[in-house]
């Protein structure tokens, strides 16, 4: 296969957003008849690269070549015309239209401007059955079918545009096991047909099962291109996370000193799970303990945390608070049980952009107290000043709109919001993402000092050092399963990496 020429080449791609370097010097080669995996952690630049390739974003520097001839991809249409088709993570079709229409819309067979429905339905049926082995009624609206089938319809649409390159952007993230196998069989078939498939995923097992070649990105930079079969799992994880094996010295853990003295059990998840999000798992958290959740993106870290907070409803298992089984159905109930949750989606689930720093800080406490027990303006200002000083929030003015603050400072405001409710259990989902190093260290120190005072934490982070540094115990997730729990001397990056890599 290596003798073949790549059908599509992206060379030295650079892409900048104001203040952020999204891609620098990234290369990508796709070969016909191959499945090429694109891997990387959050913020690695996978989706930016795809958007550049499909003409959704412009390219700052670099070139794209199709069959050795440079092409321009300045709009989704241009990219499609060049033979690049994309199936996005959230299926981008119209659920209200029929299956056949979704495949053909924009290119319906017509005669004198009149759409030939019979012809269209027949051809849709043909494409689905011949190329994708799918027998469904194409005259039904798309919403009647499962996400898996919708995904296949999206692929059919892509194929119908006579694609040479098919991009599958995390196609498996909402499919169950059988559906994934069905998709893989189809990918095998398309591969035989000579298509080049770019497969974006964060599931290691799936990558190894289907891919021939893999390109790894990290922080917007090109790490390397490898043949999948020659790349050991551990190496893959190391390259994604960005560590050389020999550099993996055991870091002195700040957590060492206190982790022997466990308090009483605060809350326990007993077989807690939610279909399509996280398989049932057990996890107990003790008073004053910091429990880390480690795992790759999409391993079910956030999903597990949301179940603790009542942000999603579990469909199996229960939460046990100091021996008593009780449900937590809404965030409000969770807050009543003195649980706090700092979401990783700061913009959509955290800040209230048009309100001031002060208002954002007191919001959760005020909500807890109800409408009429209003926190006086003076008290509000005292709280705000206290936390602005304690967390070093910059600019140190409580009356700035929070949307005008930097990410790190927004994060600190959200921490302040929850600390003000004096939680027993504080769930932190990626609290340090997108924050400069100084602020990172401050947040880590804060977690440790609060845990010494008896607050418990569930700490989620993609950065292993960070998890290791603050946690007394670490639960490791892989592909939506809790695979291992380690504590004390067993805790090392190596251990965690191996558990994450699995296999």
């Amino acid at each position: 296969m290596s003798t073949q020429k790549p059908i599509l080449q992206m060379k030295q791609i650079h892409k900048r957003f104001p203040g952020v370097k999204a891609l620098s010097n990234v290369n990508l080669r796709l070969f016909p008849g191959e499945v090429h995996a694109l891997m990387g952690e959050n913020g690695a630049g996978k989706s930016t690269l795809i958007k550049v390739l499909t003409g959704v974003y412009s390219i700052d520097e670099g070139s794209v070549e199709m069959e050795e001839a440079p092409i321009s991809v300045q709009s989704p249409l241009e990219s499609q015309a060049a033979g690049i088709s994309t199936v996005y993570q959230e299926v981008n079709l119209c659920p209200n239209l029929t299956v056949a229409e979704n495949i053909f819309i924009g290119r319906e067979p017509r005669k004198f401007g009149r759409i030939l429905w019979k012809e269209m339905n027949k051809r849709a049926q043909e494409i689905l059955s011949e190329r994708l082995n799918l027998q469904i009624d194409v005259t039904e609206p798309l919403y009647m079918y499962s996400v898996a089938v919708q995904q296949l319809v999206a692929i059919a649409r892509a194929l119908n545009i006579s694609a040479k390159v098919l991009i599958l952007d995390e196609p498996t993230s909402s499919l169950d096991k059988n559906e994934v196998q069905q998709l893989f069989r189809i990918m095998e078939k398309l591969k035989q047909d000579g298509l080049a498939i770019l497969f974006v995923t964060h599931f290691l097992d799936q990558m190894y099962e289907i891919s021939d070649r893999v390109t790894i990105l990290r922080n917007g930079e090109f790490v390397g291109e490898y043949m999948a079969k020659d790349l050991p799992r551990l190496d893959l994880v190391l390259k994604m996370i960005g560590k050389e094996l020999n550099l993996l010295e055991e870091l002195p853990s700040l957590a060492e000193e206190y982790k022997d003295s466990l308090g009483e059990e605060l809350v326990k998840a007993d077989g807690l799970g939610r279909k399509g999000a996280i398989e049932p798992f057990d996890l107990s958290i003790h008073k004053g303990e910091v429990v880390g959740l480690a795992g790759l993106l999409g391993s079910g870290r956030t999903e597990a945390a949301r179940l603790f907070f009542g942000a999603d409803k579990p469909d199996s298992g229960k939460l046990i608070f100091s021996g008593r089984s009780e449900g937590v159905h809404t965030p409000r109930e969770a807050i009543g049980r003195r649980i706090a949750f700092c979401s990783e989606n700061r913009k959509t689930e955290g800040i209230i952009g048009d309100l001031t720093v002060r208002e954002n800080i007191i919001l959760a406490l005020q909500a807890k107290q109800g409408v009429f027990r209003t926190i006086s303006r003076k008290q509000q200002e005292e709280y705000a000043d206290e936390y602005i000083r304690m967390l070093n929030i910059n600019p140190p003015s409580p009356d700035h709109l929070i949307k005008n603050l930097s990410g790190g400072n927004q994060q600190k405001v959200l921490l302040a919001r929850w600390l003000l409710t004096s939680p027993q259990l504080f769930i932190l989902d990626e609290p340090t993402r997108g924050i400069d190093i100084g602020a990172k260290a401050e947040i880590q120190k804060l977690v440790l000092s609060l845990s010494r005072q008896g607050m418990s934490f569930l700490f989620i982070s993609s950065e292993l050092e960070e998890v290791l540094r603050v946690s007394g115990r670490i639960a490791i997730l892989r592909d939506r399963h809790k695979v291992k729990e380690i504590s004390g001397k067993d805790m090392s990056q190596h251990q965690i990496m191996q558990a994450i890599a699995g296999g």
């Binding site: 989704p76 981008n92 079709l93 319906e108 009149r114």
Partner: protein
């Protein structure tokens, strides 16, 4: 699956119409006749034409509040030009249609390019068209132009001793044309796609901007045509014509089974939605003791039932996706 889910709202609409018509026929003598049926069309021709345009707007996920005002403006412009300036109807009618289309086109462009909610833009359009009527004249302008009066009085005889008006025929042609456009042309399907998901439509490479602007243009055009038909019906131009008409139109479309959030529905449903409104009025007038405001209450009730029905159906729909 005996009854396809996607047909539930329209089947409910048609059954409701038949039920009402049958009930009326049993209760009142002289109700069950072809002429009563024809009168439904004659009296609601302009509603049907407007509702057809509105169907496209709502299918695309928007709303148009300006239709009633554009009707009034059309009657006003027609009356003023024909009556006061002595222009020929052959010039005036195309001009009025062009004006309606241009008005709609302008609103569509503002909605699309400046991303302002359709609700507020067409609200401004509603104010403007209504106000322009008064710029022309505060008072009613009666039309006695021979063309208009003859069109108004022409009755086309149908077998069985009943008759139908020219306006009703225009309305039927428009409805048939709209059904073809909605289901057999790319523009029609793009409207559905746009109502289903604007983002998907963009990513699938559909001409979103053109479709959106065209939809409002079409609605403006239909309203202007309805205005002309309304002129035949009233033989006058007046700034207070068709006040609150946008609500009747929206109600007709929703009762016709079109989802107010866009993407789902049929022009044929709208046709029956208009007929249902007509039947309600007819029943109330046959009843004699019931007053006209019951029409509004019943329509409000039907609106509620249909909106709730849609809500339940779409809730099922999203649970199916899980």
């Amino acid at each position: 699956m005996s009854l396809n889910r996607k047909y539930i709202p329209i089947v409910v609409t048609i059954l409701l119409f038949l039920l009402m018509f049958t009930a009326g026929s049993f209760r009142y003598t002289g109700f069950f006749s072809l002429q009563v049926l024809m009168n439904l069309l004659i009296d609601n021709a302009f509603l049907l034409i407007t509702a057809v345009g509105m169907s496209f707007v709502i299918l695309s996920g928007g709303i148009d509040l300006s239709v009633g005002s554009i009707i009034a403006l059309s009657t006003m412009v027609s009356a003023s030009l024909v009556q006061q300036h002595g222009w020929s109807p052959a010039v005036v009618i195309p001009l009025v249609l062009l004006m309606g289309a241009a008005f709609g086109c302008g609103m569509g462009a503002i909605i699309h390019y400046f991303k302002i909610q359709p609700f507020i833009v067409t609200l401004a359009g509603m104010f403007m068209a209504r106000g322009l009527c008064y710029v022309i004249s505060i008072d009613t302008i009666t039309i006695d132009n021979p063309f208009y009066t003859s069109v108004a009085q022409t009755k086309i005889a149908l077998p069985g001793g009943s008759f139908i008006s020219i306006s009703a025929i225009i309305a039927l042609i428009i409805a048939a044309l709209a059904i073809f456009i909605a289901h057999y042309t790319r523009f029609g399907r793009n409207v559905y796609a746009l109502g289903g998901s604007e983002q998907s439509s963009l990513l699938m490479g559909l001409p979103v901007a053109r479709t959106k602007v065209l939809v409002y243009t079409l609605s403006g055009l239909c309203s202007a045509l309805a205005g002309i038909v309304f002129t035949f019906y009233m033989l006058s131009g007046y700034g207070l014509h068709a006040v609150g008409f946008e609500l009747d139109t929206i109600a007709a479309v929703v009762i016709g089974g079109t989802l107010l959030t866009g993407g789902v529905g049929y022009v044929l449903g709208t046709f029956f939605g208009v007929l249902i409104q007509g039947v309600i009025q007819t029943i109330i007038s046959f009843e004699g003791t019931l007053s006209s405001w019951w029409t509004k209450i019943v329509i409000g009730l039907l609106l509620f039932v249909f909106i709730l029905l849609q809500r339940v159906l779409s809730a099922n729909r999203s649970s199916l996706k899980q």
